[in-house]
């Protein structure tokens, strides 16, 4: 709660960032993203990590629209990312469509397929819907691995590097700008959506679907729309992976990925855009940190070396469990607490 700000029009009262403090924070974050590659001296590894976070943020926002905001659990995230990645990859590799054009196309194709696999949500809720989306996951991956003529089957699909004139765009530094521009657009569009009847209808369905229907929300249509909008952004993530990596394989889109993204939004904060970013950062940086820790421990106790990978996985799980026990509402909640503390500063108590 910010005190001392009074709005003189509904327009300013309804702005995305209502106070100067909120605008300042957003400005600082944008400045950080713009400066980051230079702050790290253009070193590839930190930029690579930031790119991973950016890509995951887009996918996490997409999943959060469906799960966090609309309350429709989905285990199909990995498969929807596959649809985006294969659509973009195939269009460029086989049909020579410019890489930048494949991103919106892949997003739209994923949105359509997401909506189709959202149909069971008419009848199914909670765990039953989760199982139905699990079926979607398995069906899509099955199609991808068996439709050899188009996808290349289990073999990797090689995607030609994205070019801008004579510039090869998929270096860590150059792709950084594409990823974070799209992450910014995704966050902005999503924030806008939740200022209008669409977003409110999604939340209404999550909180009280019968009341939503009686208030005039066509619950089925809006559930499908939530699947479509969510999958749209997930498709963007898939397309970005295809062009950044230059290679598409089904193994990157298994059920593990679906679970990873669910963990991301739960840890970051359900129904929150900044929470999606926090979750994406956490789930990208923690394994990287553990890997580096493991590497530096190598040789310290030579007898332990072969256990290091297991220790990494175990600590990854442990941190997540601890996290859920200590702060079930996610990183977003911690962030809110910090903000509230400073908003009242120096009169905080």
């Amino acid at each position: 709660m910010i005190s001392g700000t009074f709005h003189t029009s509904y327009r300013s009262d309804m702005a995305l960032r209502r106070t100067w403090l909120e605008r300042l924070r957003l400005g600082l974050f944008i400045a950080f993203v713009l400066a980051f590659p230079f702050l790290v001296g253009k070193k590839p590894y930190p930029i690579f990590l930031m790119n991973q976070i950016g890509i995951a943020t887009i996918g996490a926002i997409g999943l959060n629209i469906l799960v966090g905001y609309t309350g429709q659990i989905s285990l199909g995230q990995g498969a929807f990312m596959a649809v985006g990645a294969y659509t973009a990859g195939i269009l460029t590799a086989r049909f020579g469509v410019p890489w930048w054009l494949t991103i919106p196309i892949a997003a739209l194709v994923t949105a359509a397929i997401g909506a189709v696999f959202g149909i069971p949500s008419l009848r199914l809720k909670g765990l039953y819907l989760a199982i139905a989306t699990l079926a979607a996951q398995e069906i899509i991956i099955w199609v991808v691995t068996h439709w050899e003529a188009v996808t290349g089957g289990v073999d990797a699909l090689v995607v030609p590097p994205p070019m801008l004139g004579s510039l090869r765009m998929n270096t860590d530094f150059r792709f950084y700008w594409i990823i974070w521009a799209l992450a910014g657009v995704t966050a902005l569009l999503t924030a806008n959506l939740f200022r209008t009847r669409y977003g409110r209808a999604f939340i209404a369905i999550r909180d009280q679907d019968i009341a939503a229907e009686v208030m005039g929300v066509n619950v089925f249509a809006y559930k499908l729309l939530a699947f479509a909008v969510s999958s749209f952004f997930v498709g963007v993530t898939g397309a970005l992976i295809a062009h950044y990596r230059g290679i598409v394989t089904w193994e990157r889109f298994t059920i593990d990925v679906s679970v990873l993204y669910l963990a991301m939004i739960i840890i970051g904060g359900l129904g929150s855009i900044s929470g999606s970013l926090f979750g994406a950062a956490f789930m990208t940086l923690l394994p990287a940190l553990l890997t580096n820790l493991g590497r530096s421990l190598r040789g310290v106790f030579p007898a332990m070396d072969e256990f290091i990978p297991y220790l990494q996985q175990a600590s990854f799980g442990l941190v997540i469990i601890l996290f859920l026990i200590l702060e079930p509402e996610g990183l977003k909640k911690i962030w809110d607490d910090i903000k509230n503390y400073f908003a009242l500063w120096p009169f905080s108590y």
Partner: protein
Amino acid sequence: MPLQLRGFRHPLNGSTLEPGQTQLRVENIHLAFGGVGALAGVSLEVRQSEILAIIGPNGAGKTSLLNSISGLYHPQKGRIVFYNHGREYELTRMKPHQIAAAGVARSFQNIELFRHMTVLDNLMSGAHVHMRAGLFSSLFYWGPAQREQIAFRDFIEDIIDLLEIPAIRYKKVGALAYGLQKRVELGRALAMRPALLLLDEPMAGMNTEEKEDMARFILDVNEEHGVTIVLIEHDMGVVMDISDRVVVLNFGRKIAEGTPEEVSKNPAVIEAYLGH
């Protein structure tokens, strides 16, 4: 043009009828769940701009009747007809969201608000059926989408003033006291700019002061804005004070109908209440 006056005189009223005209006709509806009969041949009429109270002992079928009108329950026999926009809507063949768009709003016996939204967003979501901006202008929040949100915000602020809840605008509904939640639920229904407002025990569980406030709001909405109201209420004092007509249900049947005085003297009604 979201705020253009539609229908009868006032911005909160979505009806196109004149006072006294038949607005809703329930014709001989039967509703059973498995073997349990909830409604056994109920017929009644609601007229534009009246306050009709539905009373009856627990389990009489009052809520089932409202649920049938708003399309949540599907009577096995009979029909429910609603007049608005120069049309005859057969509610028994429509989906709840279509019935809402036709002009029927309601509140629930056990508050069914959107708990994690603010009061303001709950009310704004009540105006859902009147919002027109498309998905793309909404995603970019430009032109029409923004203008529409601001125009409706203005309209919602009137409801906030009417219900005397400006102080809790930005509060999450789940954190509010019970009596305030009931008020917000009334507000959300009003945001639909209804032609017919169905209220299921709007004063249940309230103290005397809260009941008086709620009664005043209901009368305001009815007298100043001309909105037709059907309300279920157990408190006979309230029923006597605010309703124009009363319908009494018992075991799924209508056992009496008339002015509050007539009904309170009716032997069958006295019997039904004493019998329980």
